[in-house]
């Protein structure tokens, strides 16, 4: 069991660097993309909640949210009960961006698919939700 997770980490690291070069959204850092994914799942959240969910420190999230806002991908609104906090939510533009990102990736997937057989794809499709669960545990 130990080697499974160590392997997940080492290969995941390598895969991340490989995918980095195939990034379809040059304008968005991996964490910005991840925040949009979180907002798509959870709806709106405060910067503090996002920092905890993404496992970054609050000052880092301040910067990330500011960048996403500047790109028109998130909206900031005052918190209904607490004037210290803010509500962050994704814009329609963010949804469109995620959809476009998926379709752009298909071109690259065609190449990638040549290296994996159908069983291997099936394995990955099964693993995706488990990785998601693991990441959010």
């Amino acid at each position: 069991m130990g080697s499974t997770v160590l392997s997940l980490r080492i290969d995941g690291e390598l895969l991340a660097r490989r995918l980095k070069h195939q990034r379809v959204d040059e304008s968005l850092s991996p964490t910005e993309m991840s925040v949009l994914g979180t907002l798509a799942r959870c709806g709106s959240a405060t910067p503090g909640e996002l920092a905890r969910k993404e496992h970054v420190q609050p000052p880092s999230m301040t910067r990330i949210v500011a960048l996403l806002e500047a790109k028109g991908l998130v909206r900031l609104e005052p918190h209904p009960d607490d004037r210290r906090q803010k509500m962050v939510s994704q814009t329609e533009q963010a949804e469109a961006m995620l959809a476009e990102s998926r379709s752009k990736r298909n071109a690259w997937l065609t190449t990638l698919a040549e290296g994996l057989d159908e069983d291997e794809w099936e394995t990955l499709r099964n693993a995706a939700p488990v990785l998601e669960k693991l990441a959010h545990l």
Copy 2:
């Protein structure tokens, strides 16, 4: 299929940040760990080969190899045929470090295992080699 890989990326990103806080080897960066993993698989390699395999640029690998050498985890020897190149190989200490890393991780795994059932573990174990293949494709 597109959403599978996009999901792998987003969740992988998140998982990487999550694992970062559980790192057992504070002294080793993710890429340094990955290089050790590559050397464990492939035996010795030149800095240029390592840079290509790890998907980093040569100057980055120069630095990484220097750091690993300073920590006593790799050994550098002259290339037999080409005096420009060097051979990098892992030391016994590196093997011991990887083994220790696996066993230390078990403590954390016990906690993690509570959140996943046996089928989900099985899915991850199956996915690990496919992720490895994908990363090295």
